[in-house]
C-alpha cells in the first residue's frame, strides 16, 4: 500500500480533494485540483473559499456559545480531576486510603474551615447489625429524621432525609393510605400510628445487584454502603430499592459550615458531591466503634432498638426471640435487617380500642 503523499498518480486519476499542489485551481477550498479549464473558475473559487470560511467560523462560534455554560463548572467540589485516578474502595491499599482521606480532609477545610477526621472503621467479626422498631411507642415526632440529617452531613438545601416517617391510619397497612407530610407539631394524632422507614440493610439487597460499577455493596456486618467516589449516578439502585431508601444528589449538596459534623467516615457521612447516590448506613462510623445510631439516640420514646443479632443477649436478639416481629413487604424477598413490632399488651389490642378495627367491620365485631 502506498502512502497518500507519494500517491500522486491516483491523485490525478481521481482528481478530488487529496491535497494537489496546484492551488490556483482549487475550487472547493480543500486543496483539490479540479480538472478542466481553471481560469474561468477563479472567481468561484474565491467566493467558495469565503463561504466556507464564514461557515466554519460561524459554526465554531455557535459551538463555543453552546459550550459556554461549562465556564461555571466547579472542578474543585466535583473532584473530577483529582478523583479520576482514584481506585475503587475495595482496591485501595492503606497508603491509597491515606492519600484519599487527606484530600477529603483538605477539601472540607477549604470549603468549610473545619478540621474533620475521616475514619474508616472496619466491620467487626461476629457482628451483624439489626434494627428493631416498636410501632406502639413511635409517636411520629420526627426527631430521628433531623438527628440523622445533622449526623450524616446531608444537604440542607434542598434538605435530604434518609428516614421517612409515615402517618398511617389504624386498621390498614396499605402504604398508599399513609400521609408522608403530616404536621409533627400535633402528633400523635388520634386513630393513627407512625411508621418510620429507612434503609432496611437487606440481606439480599436488590440495590447492590443492579449497580453496573459495583459502587454499592453489602459489608460483612450487613450494612450496605456506597463509595461516593465510584458511583456514576445512574440511579438504577434507586429504582431497585423496594423501601425507597436511597437518595440522589440532584444538586450540589449545601451545608452551612457551622453545621458540619467533623466526625466522618469514608463509607458513611463524609461530604458528597452532586450526581451521586447515598443512603442510611446505620451510622457505621459510630456503630462500628460501639456507639448507637444517631436516630436511636435522638428518639425520646424509646421506640428504637439497635444491636448485634449474633449476640444472644443483645436487645435486638431478645426482641426477635420474644416479640412478634415482622418486616415490611416481606413478599419482595429482600430479607430486611429492620424489624417492626407492636407491644403485645397494649390497649390497642384491647376490646375498647374501636379505632383499631376498620370502620366497615366494626359492627360485625361488636
Amino acid at each position: 500500500m502506498r502512502l497518500p503523499i507519494l500517491d500522486t498518480t491516483s491523485e490525478t486519476s481521481a482528481g478530488c480533494c487529496g491535497g494537489g499542489d496546484d492551488a490556483s485551481t482549487d475550487t472547493c477550498g480543500c486543496g483539490r485540483p479540479t480538472p478542466g479549464p481553471a481560469a474561468p473558475r477563479r472567481g468561484v473559487a474565491r467566493r467558495s473559499f469565503l463561504r466556507t470560511a464564514t461557515a466554519v467560523t460561524g459554526g465554531l462560534a455557535a459551538f463555543g456559545a453552546a459550550l459556554s455554560p461549562l465556564r461555571e463548572i466547579d472542578r474543585e467540589t466535583d473532584d473530577t480531576f483529582a478523583g479520576f485516578f482514584q481506585k475503587h474502595y475495595k482496591e485501595m491499599t492503606p497508603e491509597d486510603k491515606e492519600a484519599v482521606f487527606a484530600r477529603i480532609r483538605e477539601r472540607v477545610r477549604t470549603q468549610h474551615g473545619v478540621d474533620a477526621t475521616i475514619a474508616d472503621p472496619p466491620p467487626l467479626d461476629g457482628v451483624e447489625f439489626v434494627y428493631a422498631l416498636n410501632l406502639s411507642r413511635c409517636n411520629g415526632n420526627r426527631r430521628c429524621v433531623h438527628a440523622c440529617v445533622a449526623e450524616n452531613n446531608q444537604s440542607r438545601s434542598p434538605e435530604m432525609q434518609y428516614i421517612r416517617v409515615i402517618e398511617m391510619p389504624n386498621g390498614t397497612f396499605n402504604l398508599e393510605e399513609g400521609d408522608h407530610h403530616y404536621d409533627d407539631a400535633t402528633v400523635p394524632k388520634e386513630g393513627h400510628f407512625y411508621l418510620p422507614v429507612q434503609c432496611h440493610q437487606c440481606s439480599s439487597p436488590p440495590c447492590t445487584k443492579v449497580c453496573p460499577v459495583e459502587a454499592t455493596w453489602q459489608e460483612p456486618d450487613g450494612i450496605t454502603v456506597v463509595d461516593y467516589d465510584w458511583c456514576i449516578g445512574c440511579r438504577y439502585c434507586e429504582a431497585a430499592c423496594p423501601y425507597w431508601a436511597r437518595r440522589f444528589n440532584f444538586t450540589q449538596p449545601e451545608i452551612p459550615s457551622q453545621e458540619i459534623n467533623p466526625d466522618m467516615g469514608y463509607l458513611s457521612n463524609r461530604p458528597r458531591t452532586k450526581g451521586v447516590m447515598e443512603k442510611c448506613t446505620f451510622c457505621l462510623h459510630r456503630t462500628r466503634v460501639g456507639r448507637m445510631p444517631a436516630c436511636l439516640e435522638a428518639c425520646p420514646t424509646g421506640a428504637r432498638k439497635f444491636g448485634n443479632v449474633l449476640d444472644p443477649n443483645s436487645d435486638v436478639s431478645q426482641i426477635l426471640k420474644n416479640s412478634r416481629v415482622f418486616v415490611l413487604k416481606e413478599e419482595v424477598g429482600t430479607l430486611p435487617r429492620f424489624f417492626y413490632y407492636f407491644d403485645e399488651r397494649h390497649p390497642r389490642t384491647g376490646a375498647d380500642d374501636q379505632a383499631a378495627i376498620p370502620a366497615d367491620l366494626r359492627e360485625v365485631v361488636t
Binding site: R2, L3, P4, S13, A14, G15, C16, C17, T27, C28, C30, T34, P35, V44, G59, A62, F63, A65, A66, L67, S68, P69, L70, I73, F84, H88, R164, I166, N174, L175, E176, G178, H180, P206, V210, C211, P212, A215, W230, C231, I232, G233, C234, R235, Y236, A240, C241, P242, Y243, W244, F248, N249, F250, T251, Q252, K274, G275, V332, G333, T334
Partner: protein, 420 residues
C-alpha cells in the same frame, strides 16, 4: 489505507453538499443539536436538578427516549429478516437504510444514557469494575455497543465496497454478521426489557409480558418509521424505492401492531381484573390516582392513536400511500408515548412507600432530548447523503465527483439547487 482515508474525507466533504432544502434541514438540525448541547452543559454545571426528576421519579424522559430508540434500532432487523431469510427481492436494496437507522438510533440511545448519568466524567469506572453478569445495565452496555459495531461493520463494508467498485465478499464479511445482527437485535430489546422487569420493587414493571410487548411495539414503530424515511429518500434522491417494498413493510407493521394490542389487552386484563394493590401504577396511568392525573391525557391519546392507526392499516385504504403515512405517523407517536410516558414514568408513581409525586419534564430537559434527536437525525441524513451516490455508482474511487456541482442526489425536487 490511503484510499480509505480519502474515502472518509470525501464522505465528509459530500455531507456539506446539497440543495437549499438540504442545507436548510441540516442547519435546522445543527441549531437544535447545539441548543441541546447548551442545555446539557447547564445540566453538567448544576446537576440533574435542572430536570424534572426527583428521588420519587428517578428516571424520566431520558430513559423513556432511550427505551423507545432501542426499539427503533432493533427494527432494522425487520428489513433484514425478509431479505436474508425469505429472500424478498423488493427490500433487498433498501436493507442498508434500515441498518443505518440502527446505527443512528444506537448512537442516540448511548447519548440518552450518558445524559442521564449524574457523574458522566466517571464513565471509565465501567471498564475498571464491571458488575457483569449481575447488573442488567452491564448487559445493556455490551449488547448496545455490540449492535452498534455490527451495524457499523455491515454498512461500512458494503458502502466502501461499492465505492471501490469491488464485489463485497458476502459469504465471509456480510452474511455471518447479518445473522448475528438478527439475533443481536432481539437481544438488545430483551436485555433492555429485563432492565426493568427484574425489579421486584416496581410491580408495574415486574411482569413477564414487558419483553414481548417491547418487541411487538418496536417492530411496529420501527418499520413505520422506515416507511416514512424510505419515501423521503425516494422523493428527494435519485434512489429508487419500489412501492411493493413499502407494502411489505406495511404488512410487518400490521402484524406487529396487532400482536402489541393483544399483549396490551392481556396485561390490562391481568392488572385490572385482579385489582390487587399492584394495580396502583396502572390505575394512575389510565385513570389517575387520588386526584393525580398528569399521565391520563397522554396515555389515552396513545391508545386512541394506536387504535385508529390499527384500524386504518387493516382497511384497504392503507394501500394508498397518503393513508399509510398518516397511520404510520399516528402509530409512531402513539408508541412513543406508550413506551416513554406510559412505561417508564408510572412505575415510579406511587413510590414504593405509597407517596405520589408527579413528574413534569423541565424545559432544559426537553431541550437536551430535542438536541439528541436532532443530532441523531443529522447523522442519519449524512449517512443517507453518502450512501445514495455511492450505491448508485456516482461516487466511487475513480469517478471525478465534484462536490460543488454534484447537487442532484438531494436536490432533485429542488431545481434551485442544481446550478450547473
Amino acid at each position: 489505507m490511503s484510499q480509505y482515508v480519502r474515502f472518509l474525507w470525501r464522505c465528509f466533504r459530500i455531507s456539506f453538499v446539497g440543495g437549499w432544502r438540504y442545507h436548510l434541514w441540516m442547519l435546522f438540525l445543527t441549531a437544535v443539536a447545539l441548543f441541546g448541547l447548551n442545555a446539557y452543559c447547564k445540566q453538567l454545571v448544576h446537576g440533574l436538578g435542572v430536570t424534572g426528576m426527583t428521588d420519587q421519579v428517578s428516571w424520566g424522559l431520558y430513559i423513556a427516549n432511550f427505551t423507545f430508540l432501542v426499539g427503533m434500532a432493533a427494527a432494522a432487523v425487520m428489513l433484514v429478516i425478509p431479505v436474508y431469510i425469505y429472500r424478498n427481492k423488493e427490500l433487498h436494496d433498501l436493507v442498508i437504510f434500515g441498518e443505518l437507522l440502527a446505527v443512528a438510533s444506537i448512537i442516540m440511545c448511548l447519548l440518552f444514557v450518558t445524559v442521564d448519568l449524574g457523574r458522566p466524567d466517571r464513565f471509565t469506572h465501567l471498564f475498571r469494575r464491571f458488575n457483569f453478569p449481575f447488573s442488567m445495565l452491564t448487559w445493556d452496555v455490551i449488547v448496545l455497543n455490540g449492535y452498534l459495531l455490527l451495524n457499523l461493520h455491515i454498512t461500512g463494508y458494503m458502502i466502501y465496497c461499492h465505492y471501490m467498485r469491488r464485489e463485497p465478499r458476502r459469504a465471509l464479511f456480510v452474511i455471518p454478521f447479518v445473522f448475528v445482527a438478527i439475533v443481536w437485535a432481539i437481544s438488545i430489546h430483551t436485555v433492555t426489557a429485563f432492565l426493568y422487569v427484574g425489579l421486584g420493587a416496581r410491580p408495574f414493571w415486574n411482569s413477564a409480558i414487558i419483553a414481548p410487548r417491547f418487541l411487538a411495539s418496536a417492530f411496529s414503530a420501527g418499520p413505520a418509521f422506515l416507511i416514512l424515511t424510505l419515501q423521503v429518500i425516494g422523493r428527494y434522491t435519485t434512489y429508487h424505492v419500489p412501492r411493493p417494498a413499502l407494502m411489505t413493510l406495511r404488512r410487518i407493521v400490521v402484524v406487529a401492531l396487532t400482536i402489541n394490542t393483544f399483549l396490551l389487552l392481556s396485561e390490562l386484563f391481568t392488572e385490572f381484573y385482579t385489582d390487587s394493590q399492584h394495580v396502583a401504577s396502572a390505575t394512575y396511568l389510565y385513570f389517575g390516582l387520588h386526584g393525580y392525573t398528569a399521565l391520563v391525557p397522554w396515555i389515552w391519546t396513545a391508545v386512541a392513536l394506536n387504535t385508529i392507526a390499527l384500524i386504518m392499516l387493516y382497511l384497504p385504504l392503507a394501500r394508498s400511500l397518503r393513508f399509510l403515512n398518516l397511520a404510520c405517523v399516528m402509530l409512531i407517536a402513539g408508541i412513543w408515548i406508550e413506551k416513554g410516558m406510559g412505561l417508564i414514568v408510572p412505575a415510579f408513581i406511587p413510590s414504593p412507600l405509597g407517596e405520589i409525586v408527579e413528574y413534569v419534564p423541565t424545559l432544559n430537559e426537553l431541550l437536551v432530548c430535542a438536541g439528541i434527536w436532532a443530532f441523531g437525525l443529522l447523522l442519519y441524513t449524512i449517512f443517507v447523503r453518502i450512501t445514495v451516490p455511492v450505491l448508485s455508482g456516482r461516487l466511487t474511487y475513480d469517478t471525478d465527483f465534484d462536490p460543488e456541482t454534484e447537487n442532484h442526489p438531494i436536490a432533485r425536487g429542488a431545481p434551485e439547487g442544481s446550478v450547473t
